[in-house]
């Protein structure tokens, strides 16, 4: 029998039992829909984390001191002292893959304006910093080389600090605030970035020349970290290697001794976070996959019932010339049709459900075309796999026994 006749037969058979076909499909519909929705949720969270990471900077390579052991006493990160202007110069001179380079120092304290105060962090950097960290100045100006050289008492203010010290909408440029008793003139406002994935407010900060922060606020010559951009995305690894060389040299580390600093690239962050969200995606997908499997077993169950119920029909078909393989194909196509129709409906339901979850729960969702294609293929395989045994049973019947089946 040719394929169009087989399809016609399968459609007849399904139409004769509409309600049952629909209920059987329901298992597949739910299975496929949940696989698609779960993968969309997993993929969405992965993408949003990656977006966050790439918004942290351009081709970022950063160095921070590692905690050091001195006489068995752990001194911790804050007390580590390994990064200085000497290291910065060494990197600038010896790392051709680095385009922008800035130290980062950080002070914690209260920002004060007239009778209001607000606890926040004061960051110190040079002029490259805004480019490296993808921070924009929405009003006013950034500080200049001159400001850095002269340790000028100027600062840029984040939206959160601005709101809490001045109230929304006021223009603070030219006004002066105090931070640890040091007066700073506000020269610009940092464009808001919002909270990051970890729930941190990225607008709760002040930014000043690092010289000012070091000399006037911290009275220290150390950096908390060094931030830099590689010349392009593919160079971050190379830049990190060059940086390691330069720093080991400037720290006079002997061969075989451990680094007293740690270099991290943006790529590392993306890789780590992707592997975490990949695990999440796989887990969600697997749980949904189980429901798809249950749907498949539902098809098998119904096909078995159907073969038993239609034993006489099978006998008749054989009597009028149906061969074993015709009967096999008929039932196989029926079960494939059930699972594919269910699968296609499930794909639409799944996409719809994903969008709904995205809107209602404000969760980022990304429906990958690959997950749609995968679900479709899995459905076909389920149809064949779970239809095979019932179909084989039908094809193996003896025509006379089947005709006289009660």
């Amino acid at each position: 029998m040719n394929i169009s006749n087989l399809l016609k037969l399968a459609v007849y058979a399904l139409k004769r039992n509409r309600m049952r076909a629909l209920l059987t499909m329901l298992g597949i519909i739910i299975g496929v829909a949940s696989v698609i929705a779960m993968l969309a949720i997993g993929e969405g969270s992965k993408k949003s984390i990656q977006d966050q990471i790439s918004s942290m900077g351009t081709n970022l390579v950063s160095v921070s001191p590692t905690s050091q052991h001195r006489g068995g006493v752990e001194l911790g990160n804050a007390a580590s002292v390994s990064l200085t202007i000497k290291d910065l110069d060494a990197i600038r001179d010896e790392c051709p893959s680095i385009s922008d380079l800035s130290p980062e120092v950080r002070a914690n304290g209260q920002a004060v304006y007239s009778n209001k105060n607000w606890p926040t962090s004061l960051f110190g950097s040079n002029t490259d910093y805004l480019r490296i960290k993808l921070i924009e100045v929405s009003e006013g100006r950034g500080f200049t080389e001159q400001d850095v050289k002269g340790a000028a008492k100027v600062c840029l203010i984040g939206e959160t600090v601005l709101e809490n010290l001045f109230g929304k909408g006021t223009n603070p440029i030219g006004l002066s605030i105090r931070y640890k008793k040091v007066p700073f003139t506000i020269i610009g406002i940092l464009k808001a970035k919002g909270t990051n994935t970890y729930g941190q407010d990225q607008d709760d900060l002040l930014l000043a020349p690092y010289t000012t922060v070091q000399k006037r606020v911290l009275a220290s010559t150390f950096f908390n970290s060094i931030q830099s951009s590689a010349i392009d995305e593919s160079s971050t690894k190379k830049a990190a290697a060059e940086m390691e060389q330069a720093l080991r040299k400037s720290h006079k580390l002997k061969e075989g001794s451990e680094n007293d600093f740690r270099i991290r690239t943006q790529e590392d962050l993306v890789t780590t976070s992707s592997s975490v969200s990949n695990v999440l995606t796989i887990l969600l997908g697997a749980i949904a996959g189980i429901s798809l499997l249950v749907g498949g077993i539902g098809i098998m169950n119904i096909m078995y019932v159907s073969v038993t119920e239609r034993t006489r029909e099978i006998g008749l078909r054989m009597a009028v010339g149906g061969r074993g393989k015709d009967i096999l194909m008929q039932f196989l196509i029926e079960s494939i049709l059930l699972s594919i129709i269910g699968g296609v409906i499930g794909i639409f339901v799944g996409i719809g459900a994903s969008q709904l979850i995205g809107i209602l729960m404000k969760w980022p969702v990304v429906v990958l075309p690959a997950s749609v294609i995968l679900s479709f293929l899995v459905c076909t395989v389920i149809g064949v796999f779970f239809g095979w045994y019932p179909a084989r049973k039908a094809a193996g019947l003896n025509p006379i026994d089947a005709l006289h089946y009660e």
């Binding site: 029998m1 007849y12 006489r312 078909r317 010339g321 061969r323 074993g324 015709d326 006379i400 005709l403």
Partner: protein, 253 residues
């Protein structure tokens, strides 16, 4: 002398149920010519249905030869037997065996589905012709449960005709029907036969057997006797003389 359609020699068939062996056929010799209308008769359990199933290539004999329209059955595999059933045989069963919730025309089309040489259009045309031939021109779209027993059996006969078989095999085709309807069905068979169709008809009713041209009587797995029917009944004539059912009812009261 017309040509021989069915040639059976020393045919035996055994069934094994547990330790018990039932010898359903114990050496049958039989020859049926084109255009014959045969009734196979005999007591219950004498092997009539078994014989018909073997003639229909639905059952394989243990020994002996069976040649249908020049083809030796013992040389064919399962798929070839199916193809042979599809092209050369028509079946009519006691219990009609129509597909439920499937219209009369679709039921009749069924055998042609398994014939790749027949396309959809031809399939429909041939099914329509067969239904017209059995007098169901106005019932083509009816489902089996919307038809009387007699009409359902007519659909089954149309189905057995649709592939233009060399022989129609019927097992107690009138077994579920009342006298009048049985005669109507026999009239149809007689008409088909007079147009040249070979028919083998299993029955245990004497009067039904008298509509055929030759009776073969089975006893205990063997042919007891074969006899040509003298004073053959004409079903159309018989129907004219048959009292209508409600008249019978009226006569009783």
């Amino acid at each position: 002398m017309s040509k021989t359609i069915i040639e059976v020699k020393d045919l035996t068939k055994e069934f094994h149920v547990g330790d018990v062996t039932v010898r359903a056929l114990k050496g049958v010799n039989l020859s049926i010519a084109e255009g014959e209308f045969i009734a196979i008769m005999g007591a219950s359990g004498s092997g009539k249905s078994t014989m018909l199933n073997i003639l229909g290539c639905l059952e394989i004999p243990n020994s002996g030869t069976y040649i249908l329209d020049g083809v030796d059955m013992s040389e064919l595999n399962k798929d070839e037997l199916a193809a042979l059933r599809n092209q050369k045989l028509g079946f009519v069963f006691q219990s009609y065996n129509l597909l439920p919730r499937t219209s009369a025309i679709e039921n009749v089309e069924l055998p042609l589905f398994y014939n790749n040489k027949v396309n959809a259009k031809e399939r429909r045309e041939r099914a329509e012709k067969a239904l017209i031939r059995v007098g169901l021109k106005d019932r083509m779209g009816h489902m089996p449960n919307q038809l009387s027993g007699g009409q359902q059996q007519r659909v089954a006969i149309a189905r057995s005709l649709v592939n233009d078989p060399v022989v129609i095999l019927a097992d107690e085709a009138t077994g579920n029907l009342d006298t009048r309807t049985s005669y109507e069905i026999m009239a149809l068979f007689q008409e088909l036969n007079s147009n040249g169709k070979t028919i083998v008809f299993v029955t245990h009713e004497m009067d039904i057997a008298r509509f055929t041209s030759r009776n073969i009587v089975f006893r205990d797995g063997k042919i007891l006797k074969t006899e040509d029917v003298k004073e053959r009944f004409n079903a159309v004539e018989m129907l004219k003389n048959l009292p209508v059912a409600d008249e019978v009812q009226a006569a009783k009261n």
